[in-house]
Symmetry: D3
Subunit: 226 residues, 6 copies
């Protein structure tokens, strides 16, 4: 791999999972050191949920709740940046232009959300398009895209190779709507139009990230354009 | 009206239509003067199309083409800002935060697009939600939302009152996809979740804007939440 | 009161206390509405502690831990800003200059920490000096400055009036070091050199803030310069 | 060549000339790749003229017309930046400090105008002085500095070598004032005081730029300090 | 007067003249208070000369010497801003856009130079054009424009009324070049094209500023467009 | 040495000492060239004193006087940056984040103060902690830390090696308070908590800086953590 964007679930930014996060940081540093250009978009995780819930209780609009979620994702990005030391782009990017700026300067930008009404998945997809990367790595809470909902069906199995059209089918048809959201429609559209290659891996298994960055196709669900 | 966001089609930013633009600026200033808080989001129009076409010919990605379209919309915003004189927020906002900043300072922010993969309609809807406005005015190239495609059906007529659900039906079912895009799905979703009131008017008939800002419901298609 | 800086404990930014926070926001809006100029500095609270603890576990330096605490305090500031609507200065100030900027534009700036190695109390004191306010309101977790440590001595009572010299004595001599820190030495020095008037109140009793903003001296510990 | 500033005419930013522009981008990338430090200042071209004309018709002052021309030149700069990919400094510089910043970080800054009442030629000259370059390349619409006005005199020929004093004479004496402006007086003064070497070439003949960047003196008019 | 730009000589920013500066600040505040919109551009004065001289001795280019002079003028602007308290726009504007921003927000912007190779007089003239002011007040070290060089001719007298054409004649013909520079050619050109009214007064006689701001024409040299 | 922060006394920024400053710039460039990462914090020196004195005479608060001192230190930083050419980070950092940004991009950031009520020594210490440097070089007006006050005691001698505890003793006990301030308490606390190694050298003897950067321990007072 030479150019990748990583979307990292916000769920890894918690006291319980900080060791996992540190391992992920080490993997990123290792491959950065061997010449891979990397940008990272992180989710808001439990901090986002907390602030959104406070805002909601205080009667603040959904748009502002999004803004607070973005703020939380940026705080997560600060933490990961701190772990990356000299290799991080700092301060945390707050506009898509900042990500491009960082990329061109060969630093690892770690950012969060950018706009209300736009998911961090959409940010990552947009970035992957703009930076013309080989691979968008979606590090989430499960091992990949399942053929059935793994929470309900015991025999659900990870789809190892699928086309973007397959992915769209899985996302829109197989599951209870709103329950299992690997990707929102906006992110999906950008991935389609940019003909991006995407892999879904489990963020809680850092060896998967290592494997993907080393160019292997051993883990995860690999989605190719058609 | 006390608080409105105006989405203004980029088509009005052309040498032929500059007098219309100046009339629109006068209407905005007049109602600002009588206490209406106003934010404006403008499209990229022919300048956007020109730069996107140049970028496309030079092999630049769709994401970067979006960025050039955003740049063009901001140039349009500069022109309208210049016409608004002391009442404009300047420089032109480039982040959603800048729009909020301007609004809270009681100046008229005129901006364009913000992010690749996001329409200026989505920006306007998001802003309307964040600024908690009474009305989102969509000043476009036609007199409102038609019951049939006015380019094909001679007896198409403007729908004067409709619910957001009606609007969704019209947008998704009636017309050839991609031909008649008053609103993209993202903008529509924000309008729905924020329960915004929207009116579609013709930007080329500035008396329509005047009428709407004065609180009348004489012109345009009025969309209400359910 | 015409010009005040409020230092608000970060402890009020939690799911349990969000109603208290909303009440404080209402009080601030009410007095802003009647012409009081207000700037607010908020602490990092439990979110700061969480991120500092994660950073510490990941081996990040104390300086960077401070930066994460600052980030958390800014997230708190975003939440309170969202509650203040049009009256807030947005985006959240990140430099002392931004606070001055907001103040001169007559908006309520709500910010957090600014620099590693500097407390939010020191920020608030510095701001109070620069903005030449009448009163620095320190809204903390207790009813005021006690003559003895209220956690140990059952008969500790709030000192209603004290000089800055008395305050220094209480802070430096009476308590176990590091246990009961109403003010750090830097904040105290700024308060002394600027001859600021300070009142300590309980943030969890919003009527105290109301009382102080209305010009009463019924609640809290009032500290006067000598 | 090791350090150059290129002033590129805005006329090349048009649908008809986009292939030429792409060739120029390739030349710039090629020499950047072999170690030449490059900064580029582009003119506003036909987009500038269009917006200035709209602004003029709407009664906007000459100062604001300049600002719109600057906006147009920056849109041109965005397009060229997009073509330069990872090597570009992004976002487009809007202050002289941004150009210096980009230069020191070894990226190709492509910018436009900076201030009303100041030509892009003056910006390029000022930049060439600040960055202490070997050569200011003025890529314009003609092959160089002519001894007579080529539009009137059929036997006008390009002056291959001239001193800055010669250039001043040509610019101020030979032609109808205002008709043939290779350089304005401010740009000329900076070139003189900084004792810059300048070459005028034809932007529409990209091999000229290639030749100059490779260190040849085969094409263009070469102006040396005295 | 309702809208004015003041160009203030940097010579008043010295330990000896600080009382004069404070008086000027009081005059500005007084008229701001009664509704006059004011922007101020200050020169670099003795601090600029000092840093330019140090830079020169260290072999730094003339362009960078200009930048240091600009830095010094901004330090002067900070001092005057501090004196203006809540009425100042802060932080000090560093781009022409910042001045416009401040003006539209009804605060007094006090800035210095903006670009190498551009005088603070040119900044003031450009600003006066963009802000569409009634009067550009040039507060310098002498009582106005003299008919002869007052340093040489004992019977030189202040010209009370002159046209811009007269001014151009006086500036270009009467004096030893470089000795007596009230206005550089760029500033003069902007004043001409924008048809600005200008008055030259003595900054060291604050009653002159007071008189001019109150609408009197008792002091100074008044220059009118033709 | 591989990573150092240099605190440089503002006293070296004067017409008399500009040659010394140029020599220091040469030393910094030389070691930067051989791979040492360097950040520099400069004091305000005589310019700071001048503006503080003007502000004081004009009745401006101590907080604003600090801001003017910070402005002066930044002007000094501009001068040194200009001397460092392409290797400098420009524009001058004004937030701690800018210093980190510059460091990660491998440029020499030269900045001044950041906040009222915070010394440039505290900025340097905080930076040294955040950048995780090997050594904080304090280049001051004397050869190191003396065992007695060298202005009073003729036989005072430089302490060559001391612990941070020794340093605290020397700073707090030996001298007349306020007379001899090598380090303020905030700077000292950061140095302690970060367990930084510090060396005090004489800025007016550039060979001392050279010696220290080359890894020698021949000159200065070396302070080690305990």
């Amino acid at each position: 791999m030479e150019r990748v964007v990583i979307k990292l679930t916000g769920k890894v930014f918690s006291v319980e999972n900080v060791k996992t996060l540190a391992e992920l940081a080490d993997v990123i540093l290792k491959y950065r050191g061997s010449g891979v250009k990397i940008a990272v978009v992180v989710g808001g995780g439990e901090t986002a949920r907390k602030y959104i819930s406070m805002a909601s209780e205080a009667g603040v609009s959904l748009g502002w709740q999004d803004i607070l979620g973005i703020g939380a994702s940026r705080l997560n990005a600060m933490l990961l940046s701190a772990m990356l030391g000299d290799h991080a782009y700092y301060p945390v990017p707050t506009r898509i232009e900042d990500f491009i700026h960082a990329w061109n300067l060969d630093k690892i930008a770690v950012g969060g959300g950018l706009q209300p009404g736009q998911s961090t998945n959409a940010v990552a997809a947009s970035l992957a398009e703009l930076l013309n990367v080989e691979l968008l790595i979606n590090a989430t809470t499960v091992d990949g895209v399942y053929d059935k909902d793994p929470k309900i069906e015991p025999n659900a199995s990870v789809l190892r190779e699928l086309t973007i059209r397959d992915l769209r089918k899985v996302l829109t048809q197989s599951y209870v709507p709103g329950r299992y959201e690997l990707l929102d429609p906006v992110a999906l559209s950008i991935i389609e139009r940019a003909r991006l290659q995407v892999v879904f891996i489990n963020a809680f298994k850092p060896y998967m990230l290592k494997s993907v960055l080393s160019g292997e196709r051993v883990y995860g669900s690999w989605v190719r354009p058609e």
